[in-house]
């Protein structure tokens, strides 16, 4: 048992005093500051994020012959929602067409890219879903062909490691 249990104890405040943020009315509003890091797992989807650092778009496909859909998923998912079979990894084309887009002008705090920039939703042949990303250069138009580029050097280890650029011609 620690020595502290043995005698009278003088308690010291070792925190940081809260700042009063607002006392302009009959009330106090005080600050509760913090800085937090979460340790987040990519779980069974880790091959997708590793794939980005290797210049590959890895999707998952349900290959269960009993499944009615056998969909190809990008974003990938480890389990088929239609038949509950474990899906398999497949490499999908790194080209697609713009399905929808927006220009991000006013972003929430912590945004990791300089605003404004174009966010794009890309339809890829053979993929049943429509994959969200950002356009590194150019101006999007619905149906415009684009190809993927990857941040293989100094990767962020996030979804920001893939982006799209227009296919010239």
């Amino acid at each position: 048992m620690s020595k502290a249990y043995e005698g009278p104890l003088a308690t010291k405040f070792i925190g940081t005093p809260s700042e009063i943020y607002d006392d302009k009315g009959d009330f106090w509003v005080v600050d509760f500051p913090r800085s937090i890091t979460h340790h987040h797992t990519y779980g069974l989807l880790t091959p997708f994020f590793k794939g980005l650092t290797e210049g590959k778009l890895m999707a998952t496909k349900c290959t269960n012959p009993e499944c009615t859909e056998n969909s190809v998923w990008l974003p990938p998912r480890a389990d088929c929602p239609d038949c509950y079979a474990r899906t398999e990894w497949v490499e999908v084309p790194t080209v697609g067409k713009i399905y929808a887009y927006t220009m991000l002008d006013y972003a929430g705090i912590g945004i990791e890219m300089e605003t404004p920039y174009w966010q794009v939703d890309v339809q890829i042949e053979g993929v049943d879903t429509i994959f969200k990303g950002y356009l590194k250069q150019g101006k999007p138009v619905t149906g415009m062909p684009v190809k993927a580029e990857f941040r293989t050097e100094n990767p962020t280890h996030t979804i920001l490691d893939v982006c799209w650029v227009p296919i010239e011609g």
Binding site: A100, K132, T142
Partner: protein, 455 residues
């Protein structure tokens, strides 16, 4: 194409009828430092007990409550886990059972549905449904980031860190697919913010012009600031009862029919589906539309809203929504989400949504006005309270109490505002039936509630 199992399409059958008799809310503000959260909740709860012409005293009603459904969107905003326990204790309702409900933007609707299930099942005869949000502890951009964590953290949140950026691609897609102009979108903002001028509790009322909306600052192209709702602090409550209790408590009870639907959190994951048809839609009516777009709901529509309406209309026996509904309250978090919903709930067939605005049907005096409360754009989006407050606004319209709750000087004084000299009543004459939509994510959860005059 994804098809639904027959069992999945079963229409809910409640064991007992469910009624709504009273509603209450706080004023809604961007910053509300005069009150702690539980004090705000008490304010709306007491309004529900004291000001709805109920035939029992507040204490007698409190003594009748057996269950509480509480709506809160985000622990991030409250910075308090188990807020439900603090609120429940503060309202003096221990040891009654309560459930905390969380379904994003649809939290309020989901709380009403949860409370209704408790009445319908016989768990309780009298249920408090109450929701709140305190979004004023952080600055706006931090709040935007918090809300964007209701997109997929792995594949979406980092792409924008603001929810407008998940709706904006839909707006662009919808504009191209269904010929929606920016002007029609802006008219929704003008209309709802204008109606908020009559609501003493409104956070962002204003007589704007289409030009002002289109010239306001861009959030995510094409959605401008005036097309997006704000962050709010506030609370709302409604009281649900079984049939016997409803008539004991009120001479003007309103019957509730309600169902919900869901769809993927990531808009990316929407695969092509068959369209569940509303009672007034014949088989094959969307064959041409699908041949063109090749994809439903695509980025244009909401499966969750369509599914909720599919069930709720059948529960209520509604065949022609536009003819049978006297008013609607829709989840206009963004102008585009409002417009997208018109097709989902059958105010117009898919592909003709803009006409609901352009025809005048959506306006006060029109065939089926929407968001006379001021909506989310004009009045509030204290998320956990929103779907509850919308229900209260529909309830009051059916009870003929729009003026009582919006025109009485008492409420303007409570809100610390002066009643405008040109205040206008938006009471729908002889309103018998109304609908409200509570909506989450990019359509991840949607409830569809229908309230019907029952006296």
């Amino acid at each position: 194409m994804i098809k639904f199992g027959k069992g999945n399409l079963r229409v809910p059958q409640w064991s007992r009828r469910v009624f709504m008799v009273a509603g209450g809310c706080t004023p809604f503000r961007k910053y509300f430092p005069e009150y702690k959260l539980e004090e705000l909740v008490m304010m709306g709860y007491k309004m529900m007990l004291e000001d709805n012409d109920l035939k029992m005293s507040p204490k007698e009603i409190k003594d009748q409550i057996q269950y509480c459904a509480y709506g809160e969107f985000a622990d991030h905003f409250q910075d308090q886990l188990l807020c439900e326990a603090k609120i429940h204790d503060y309202l003096g309702l221990d040891p009654l059972w309560n459930n905390g409900i969380k379904t994003g933007g649809a939290t309020g609707g989901a709380a009403v549905l949860n409370g209704a299930m408790a009445v319908a099942s016989g768990y309780a005869d009298t249920v408090l449904v109450c929701g709140w949000e305190r979004m004023d502890e952080v600055d706006t951009r931090t709040g935007n980031f918090y809300i964007s964590t209701a997109a997929c953290k792995d594949f979406e949140t980092r792409m924008g860190r603001i929810y407008s950026s998940y709706y904006a691609p839909m707006a662009n897609r919808f504009a191209e697919a269904y010929n929606l102009s920016e002007v029609t979108r802006a008219k929704v903002a003008v209309k709802n913010r204008g109606y908020a001028m009559s609501n003493p509790n409104a956070q962002q009322p204003g007589h704007h012009t289409v030009e002002e909306v289109l010239e306001s600052r861009m959030s995510a192209y094409p959605l401008r600031f005036l097309e997006c709702c704000a962050m709010t602090a506030g609370s709302a409550s409604v009281l649900l009862c079984n049939e016997e209790m409803a008539y004991k408590l009120s001479d003007h009870p309103v019957e509730l029919f309600m169902a919900g639907g869901t769809h993927t959190l990531r808009v990316a994951d929407r695969r092509h589906m068959e369209i569940p048809l509303l009672p007034n839609e014949p088989e094959g009516m969307y064959d041409d539309l699908l041949a063109e777009s090749g994809r439903w709901p695509g980025f244009e529509s909401f499966l969750a809203a369509r599914f909720a309406a599919y069930l709720a209309y059948r529960m209520a026996g509604i065949k022609e929504p536009l003819d049978e509904l006297d008013l609607v309250e829709l989840h206009d978090a963004f102008t585009i989400s409002d417009i997208q919903t018109y097709g989902d709930i059958g105010l117009r067939p898919y592909g003709q949504e803009p006409d609901y605005i352009e025809s005048g049907d959506a306006y006060y005096g029109g065939k089926c006005p929407s968001n006379l409360s001021g909506g989310l754009l004009g009045t509030m989006h204290a998320v956990g309270a929103t779907g509850i407050w919308q229900a209260a606004e529909v309830l009051w319209q059916i009870q003929g109490k729009y003026d009582k709750f919006h025109g009485d000087e008492k409420w303007w004084q409570r809100a610390g505002k002066e009643k405008p000299a040109d205040w206008k009543s938006l009471q729908v004459p002889d309103a018998k039936q109304g609908l409200w939509i509570s909506h989450a994510g990019v359509g991840s959860h949607v409830t569809c509630g229908i309230l019907r005059k029952a006296w």
